[in-house]
Amino acid sequence: MYADINLAIKKDSHALQREQVKKIRLISFSILFLVAFASILIFLINLRFSVNSIRRDQDKAIQKITDNNQTAARIFLVNSRFSDIDFILKNRKKNNQTLGKIISLDSGSTQVTELSLAENKATLSLFATSLSDLNDSLNAILSSYPTKEVSDILMKSLRADATGFTVKLEVILR
């Protein structure tokens, strides 16, 4: 009777061991499969993100630009020249505009008899037959300044003769 019992236990122990081996085999192969799969996957991702393929595409783009080098040179020249033109337009002295504005402010009955411009100073002489006209022009000019182009306007002299009145103004430009 005991022997039968022992045999049953032995049989169960063998079955248990086989079961364990089966489990371990399943787990180990699963791990191996997962690791192999992950390795292949990461290898493929790295291959996909390889810079070599991008560099090949860069070479193709550079070749396209090189094939059209005349056009590329023209584009570069046009852009740089317009950039220089813009620089000149913004930076050259625009004293003609400033002087034009001052002259346009006179009352109409005054006349610019002398005009000189050098460095940052302009001198102009206004002539009018009546002192009242001259006064109107001066008021119009002086009330419009200072501006960002003109820092100061100085009245240098006022002369009267038989024909009329002449005022000499000095315009200090910024």
Binding site: I24, S28, F76, R81, R92, G100
Partner: protein, 239 residues
């Protein structure tokens, strides 16, 4: 005798152990291979992934720029490009273009109803104008004009090609003396190591194009003649 017994025992033990655990050999080998794969392939690949991605992103930015430039160059309208270049070199000549300067002065005098009584070339000193880095040709000009007409002449000259700048003016009764500079700029030679940027015209450049397009163009240089034959070509101006 004792050693021989021991070795026999060990051999038997080893064979016994082998038969007892032979079922485990393959799973253990699989686990060992997995561990080796993790350390030899997986970890290095994962750790280098971020570096490679950063490298790739950097190269992608370059590629996108190059593709943009290639597309710009391939799809550029040759007629518009030639016209813009002609306009730009008219406004800012590539050499000392006396012919266009004299034509311009004469045409501006006509349109301003003044007459040029004399003119004199006073050198090519770039220090006269406000902008020192761009060379100029300087002229002294005597015109028969009142101060108001002199200003109209200056206004018209500022809206004509080539670009100019009034240095000084001296006007009384019917005579006006003007010192002015005309800008010119030779094409800069570009060496193989120089970096240049090819791009669409930016807002500033487009605005300059728009401004000068509205001006009087008294000169119309042949653009193919103004283009240098090679980057090392010298300016073929009159001097």
């Amino acid at each position: 005798m004792k050693i021989g017994m021991n070795s026999e025992l060990s051999k038997e033990t080893f064979i016994g152990l082998y038969y007892q655990y032979k079922e485990f050999i393959v799973p253990i080998a699989a686990i060992v291979i997995s561990v080796l794969l993790i350390f030899i392939i997986l970890i290095p690949q994962i750790s280098s992934f971020s570096v490679k991605k950063a490298q790739r992103d950097q190269e992608m930015v370059k590629l996108n720029e190059l593709n943009k430039v290639a597309s710009l160059v391939v799809n550029a309208n040759q007629d518009i490009l030639a016209s813009n270049l002609s306009l730009a070199t008219g406004a800012l000549p590539t050499d000392k273009d006396f012919e266009s300067i004299l034509n311009t002065m004469s045409a501006v005098a006509n349109s301003s109803n003044v007459s040029i009584s004399s003119y004199q070339f006073s050198g090519d000193d770039p220090g006269l104008g406000k902008i020192k880095k761009i060379p100029t040709l300087n002229f002294d000009l005597n015109i028969t004009a009142s101060p108001e007409q002199g200003i109209i002449f200056m206004d018209n000259l500022y809206k004509a090609f080539p670009l100019s700048e009034i240095i000084s003016i001296n006007s009384s009764s019917n005579s006006t003396r003007i010192s002015l500079s005309f800008y010119y700029k030779p094409f800069q030679p570009v060496g193989p190591s120089d970096e240049i940027s090819l791009r669409e015209m930016n807002n500033v450049e487009s605005a300059a194009l728009k401004t000068i397009s509205e001006w009087n163009n008294f000169t119309s240089p042949d653009i193919e003649q103004t283009l240098p034959a090679s980057p090392s070509a010298e300016s073929n101006g009159p001097f």
